[in-house]
Amino acid sequence: MDVTLIDYYANHGTSFLHRAGAYSKILFVTLLVASVIITREFYMLLGIYVTLLILALWTRLPLLKIIAISIYPTVFTLLFVIASWDGSWLKAGVVMLKALSAALTMVILISTTPYPDVFNVIRPLLPGIIAEGLFVAYRSLFILLKLTDDLVKGLSIRGGLKKRRYANNIKNFSSGISLLLVRGFDMSEKLYGVMNLRGYKGEARMVKQDIKASGGDLILISIGVSILAASLGIRIESGLATYSTHLLALCTTILATSAIYLIQSEL
């Protein structure tokens, strides 16, 4: 999972999703996750996933990369599918689509919203120490990932990680992690010193979010509310489930049209 790439996408994108406010995007994520939880109908879940693909396409970010990032957790979901396997492909599909849809929703959020904006929204819900810890953790993550990457490269180049030399590899890998820990502690001390010098009193000040709604915000919230309404409708009145195939067909048509339009506009 390339966190640095996600951060780059979040800060350099220009799509309507990038311009939409963090509040509306988090509201959209909440509505979508609620829909995924409520829905147990295969075609409806497929419809939700196709809708998310349309949104991912409109972010104008590399679609395959975005999908690849969101597919990663499904490797673990497969374990649950195997564990609950009773011969029904549809049931396996429901579990997999739940994982894929929820993961893609989160990936769309973080690849279109800079992390300080996301944390700014959730900050009032968390105690000070957790909110600040979360901010520092995310901030340091990029530095540590770079260190980890350098470390693995360094170990490989110097012959520290060789094929079939498991004991040696584990020993060297552990030394690398230890070094990372020691450097991390030094970093935390330096960070504390810098924060102290800058008058840190337990709360990092953020730029206040502008909660004025734009067109993009309204589109997002409308999509979220429509999906939740459809999911609730199908859950309450199971007879409505027959319409989920129509919904899926509509979403697939929009996806195909969007793809053609975007390909042509880029040529």
Binding site: M1, I6, V33, V36, I37, R40, E41, Y43, Y72, P73, V75, F76, T77, L79, F80, A83, S84, W85, D86, S88, L90, K91, G93, V94, V95, K98, A99, A102, A103, T105, M106, V107, V118, P127, I129, E132, G133, L134, V136, A137, Y138, S140, L141, L144, T148, F173, S174, S175, I177, S178, L179, L181, V182, F185, S188, L191, Y192, M195, K201, A241
Partner: protein, 240 residues
């Protein structure tokens, strides 16, 4: 790697809700305990340890897709309260990357947090029993045992999540309904979200037991290295 990579909406709502209530209560206790200490100094420390945990989780160990948690290392180095907070932060960050459902963050925090807390206490006990002669053995044993316990906790959660009143209600409803074959199949898929715990336990225990040993060895080597290079980084109570 004992945390659940369960997607949203698979586990029963009551278990998700209960786990959030338990997590919030434990977090409140931890925050109260931490407030008595020098909190400002602890914030960068929690942040960095959480970031190291996330960075290590992103290194899959081929060939069996295991990844390190370093929760016991966090427990030993931060103590139980700070480690539990760090685990919660880690779970929020990995959920943001779609690495497991956002609604199961509460449950994951209990499981991985238990790993860190149990690891810390087991390390203390092992150190007292081994007369502080072998810090590596103490941390290794503490890691393997706490991973075993946290995996048991996870399997326990999965076992109790089998009893879903809603599933029973919908199954009853299905018996009296007159639906077509296709609708019937979809309907069956809808409410058969239960997990075969013995089957899951077999798969998980075979794969994870290798991981426990691996994580135990790595934790032992890491703690030994840190105690040699920077003994001040380990808790004063853990190592004099």
């Amino acid at each position: 790697m004992s945390h659940l990579h369960v997607p949203d909406g698979v586990l029963p709502n009551w278990i998700v809700l209960a786990s959030w209530i338990i997590t919030i209560s434990i977090l409140a206790l931890c925050v109260l305990r931490v407030r008595r200490t020098h909190m400002l100094r602890k914030i960068p420390l929690i942040g960095i340890i959480s970031a190291i945990m996330v960075a290590c989780m992103m290194l899959p160990i081929i060939p069996f897709a295991y990844h390190l948690n370093l929760s016991v290392v966090a427990g030993i180095m931060l103590g139980p309260s700070l480690a539990f907070i760090a685990v919660f932060i880690v779970d929020i960050i990995i959920a943001m990357f779609g690495h497991g459902g956002i609604t199961v963050v509460g449950l994951n925090t209990i499981v991985v947090g238990a790993e860190a807390v149990i690891g810390y206490y087991l390390f203390q006990i092992a150190m007292a029993m081994l007369k502080k002669h072998s810090i590596a053995w103490s941390s290794g044993i503490a890691t393997v045992l706490s991973l075993m316990l946290s995996t048991s906790l996870l399997l326990g959660f999965l076992y109790i999540s089998q009893v879903d009143v809603q599933i029973l209600f919908e199954a009853d409803k299905e018996r009296v309904s007159t639906t077509s074959f296709e609708e019937k199949e979809v309907s069956t898929a809808e409410h058969s979200s239960s997990i075969n715990v013995p089957k899951f336990a077999k798969v998980a225990l075979i794969l994870l037991s290798l991981g426990w040993i691996l994580e135990g060895v790595i934790t032992a080597l890491v703690i030994r290295y840190v105690s040699g290079v920077r003994p001040d980084l380990l808790l004063p109570d853990a190592v004099k």
